[in-house]
């Protein structure tokens, strides 16, 4: 096998002095699949950009060599790098929802890549576009090619991006965090498809990911990166079986798929009254009137659930399954079309905003994207104490004392109180958001995908924190997630939603050991890393 990418002792530094990649060596042979695993900030994206010749102006290769297809990229001109992009190296970018130009038709965007590779006005562009779309698994390619990106689902956009990467007939495809923006089941199908296409054509694949599970499932070889250096590399079996470095061990411990199933969580006796119950709740949205189409959309149908004090109920489903609607109804932000919402012994379904307000002190929300959930102009202190101030609970010194206690609770240093959200990492932001939700000492926290925007290792630490808080303060959680692996060691009960209907409901142990329906089995199979663990077993 010939070596396609050869990186020798490469160092990349940013102008402000930070060395993102430090004396890193790596080679990728033709046809090989290599995964680089590391947390955000480990330099893995900088390395990918360097291979693509797309380092930002503020970054510079300071030492070492970078050979791609026997071209020396360290001294290459922009024109030479451009000749490699698309035709030798293709990119499948991270977030499909923002990686296509919203103002151009899908077909035009693929055509661009085709024309670059085969020269202007070669005959049969249209036929090739349709064929590429077919190859990446889009069923009505002629129609789709004429549509704009916003008319396609996230999964389809990811497929279009793969088609663009394939259009130049490259020898290497770099997949940058291919699993972070989509539902698990969709991700798995798309990655399987990509891998099949790549191996049929003998293309090399470089997967960049924070999830060791994904890497272990798919790569021939794994490189673990930390602080710009490769701390360990080897086959998935070796990395998982006999990790040498502490950091690798930490990553393995964090990956939900490799974590040992714990003892079942202690259950609180069900004689207790539920803190929140939804009874036969349904929600129907009116659609704009179009002839010959349904005028309503059923988001949720006949949903029953009970949340008991000190326990966690997980609602699992893919996007569009109605899980966010359920959460909004539980929060009183949306009125159900049918059914009732009870908070403890009180029917709160038809409470108006003012009557609901006292209940908000007992019912708090933690949102999905920690960066967007905090006001960028509020310091951490302002964010944390805002609920206390808005209910007029505390003032002056007592307020500061409360803020210090809260920040200790979520294990952040007190000095962080003066910081702004942009000075914090994603995990730290989520801790602040949790501290804010705890400020009023609620009895029930609604967690909307609390970890899906975070690295796997950070996910594990946030979940640990939430568990500790539940143990010490007896808070009940409703956890909404598209990812069963998050739920596995965290929830007491699981409810699987699909198209607005509950298709499975039971204890975590039962769902995982005896999944009742095909869809749940699919969700379990989609957990990355299971491939390797089941093989080993």
């Amino acid at each position: 096998m010939s070596v396609l990418v050869d990186v020798r002792q490469l160092s990349v530094s940013y102008r402000h002095g930070h060395t993102a990649v430090n004396r890193l060596s790596l080679n990728i042979a033709q046809g090989e699949t290599v995964a680089i695993v590391g947390e955000s900030g480990s330099g893995k994206s900088t390395l990918a950009n360097a291979i693509l010749g797309l380092l930002p102006d503020s970054a510079q290769i300071t030492a070492g060599q970078l050979w791609v297809d026997s071209h020396d990229l360290t001294h290459a001109s922009e024109r030479q790098k451009r000749a490699l992009r698309g035709r030798t190296i293709g990119l499948v970018p991270q977030d499909p929802t923002v990686s296509l130009n919203p103002t151009l038709r899908v077909g035009q965007q693929i055509a661009e890549a085709l024309i670059l590779a085969r020269g202007k006005r070669y005959p049969g562009v249209d036929a090739d576009i349709v064929e590429l779309l077919q190859q990446v698994g889009i069923d009505t390619p002629v129609l789709r090619a004429r549509q704009h990106p916003h008319e396609l689902s996230g999964g389809m956009r990811q497929r279009v991006l793969i088609a663009i990467a394939l259009a130049g007939n490259p020898r290497l495809i770099i997949a940058d965090e291919p699993t972070s923006a989509l539902d698990v089941t969709v991700q798995r199908k798309i990655l399987d498809h990509l891998q099949r296409l790549v191996s049929e054509r003998g293309i090399s694949l470089l997967i960049i990911t924070h999830d060791l599970g994904v890497a272990a499932d798919r790569a021939d070889r794994i490189l673990v990166m930390q602080h710009g250096e490769v701390v360990e590399q080897g086959t998935p079996g070796r990395i998982l079986g006999a990790p040498q470095h502490d950091y690798t061990r930490a990553l393995i411990a964090a990956a939900p798929a490799f974590a040992k199933r714990r003892e079942p969580l202690p259950r609180i006796d069900s004689t207790q009254a539920p803190i929140l119950s939804l009874k036969n709740v349904g929600k129907t949205f009116a659609l704009p009137k179009v002839k010959g189409e349904e005028s309503t959309f059923v988001a949720l149908e006949d949903l029953n659930l009970q949340v008991y004090p000190g326990q966690t109920l997980a609602i699992v489903g893919e996007s569009g399954s109605g899980k966010s609607t359920a959460l909004r109804i539980a929060l009183g932000l949306e009125k159900p079309t049918q059914g009732q919402v009870w908070f403890e012994q009180q029917d709160v379904t038809h409470l108006n905003w003012r009557d609901f307000r006292p209940l908000r002190q007992r019912l708090q929300l933690v949102q999905q994207n920690p960066f967007a959930a905090l006001d960028p102009r509020f310091t951490v202190f302002d964010s944390i104490v805002e609920p206390l101030v808005s209910f007029g609970r505390l003032k002056g010194a007592a307020l500061e004392q409360a803020a210090r206690e809260l920040i200790n609770r979520v294990h952040l240093p007190v000095s962080y109180l003066d910081r702004l959200p942009r000075e914090l990492s994603g995990g730290q932001c989520q801790r602040v958001a949790i501290a804010r939700a705890l400020a009023l000492k609620p009895d029930l926290l609604l967690l909307d995908e609390p970890v899906s925007a975070l690295d796997v290792s950070v996910q594990a630490r946030i979940l640990e924190l939430l568990e500790e808080l539940q143990r010490e303060m007896g808070i009940a959680y409703v956890l909404v997630s598209h990812d069963l692996s998050v739920v596995a060691n965290f929830a007491h009960e699981v409810l699987v939603l699909r198209n607005g209907r509950v298709i499975e409901h039971g204890s975590v142990e039962r769902i995982f050991s005896h999944p009742g329906c095909e869809y749940t089995r699919e969700l379990i199979a989609a957990i990355p890393g299971r491939h390797v663990t089941t093989q080993a077993a």
Partner: protein, 316 residues
Amino acid sequence: MSRYLIGRIGQALLVLWGAYSITYFILYLLPGDTLSIMLSASGMEADALSVEDLAKARAYYGLDKGLFEQYVDLLLGALRGDFGQSLSLNRPVAELLAERLPQTLSLAGLAIVLSLLGGIGLAYLTAYIRWQPLKTALARLPSLGFSVPVFWMGLLLIQVFAFGLGWFPATGSRGLESLVLPAVTLAIPSAAVYAQVLQRSFQGVWKESYITTAYAKGLSRGQVQARHGFKNAALPILTLIGLQVGNTVSGAVLVETIFARSGIGRLAQEAVLRQDIPVVLAIVSVSAAAFVLVNLLVDLLYPWFDPRISHIPKVS
């Protein structure tokens, strides 16, 4: 689509009617006797007339009717294109407008074209250039453009290009040459606003993921900017164009005065000074119509620029 269009045209008509009515009531309800204002505008003193003459004059101007009756009469007249008689010039207002409007339309039209070319061109260049000092210098230019007052810019241009170099006539409204300096003067503030907004917009767009996708295809910087950057960055400009047209009308008042051009702007200024109410009312209506029309066009153009905006009801 047609449903949307009918709705929008209805809205536009409503805005026009509103502008007309508000102007009417403000002008006629202003303190002071409308009749004596009108009489003095046509060069007569109210005090010098006998009671019978005054009553005759009142009947002549239609002021003997009630306020709303007058309003309805005027509105119906305006709908037929009859804006009444100018008090000071003693000619039909419609005739005056027909005479002056082409002057202002050509001035405003050229100014709008120049401001778009200048503003968008400058921002496009700023986004393309990579040499930091020049980029920074170009990025500062727009704030200079709109901080310089229009009248001063006009005088400066006259000084340099009319008196100094003698390329263009300083004043007057004859021929294309006389149009250049006023149009440039009128275009500069708008161009500066477009450039400023578009520069910002480009800065944001360069950070988008689809730009990386485009680069990864192997496109050159110029191609990426033209095909993927520009259309996305230009979206905010579209709304601005609609708003800036309103500024162009009020700018025309200033510029036509400086350059001694006989257009609508100058007519408006004279009419206000002489309290020539029918003329003022007609000019307000015409400029409101222009504003409404341009904004309607902008709204109809939006889906073409941004396919995510659709005037057809959404199907989910």
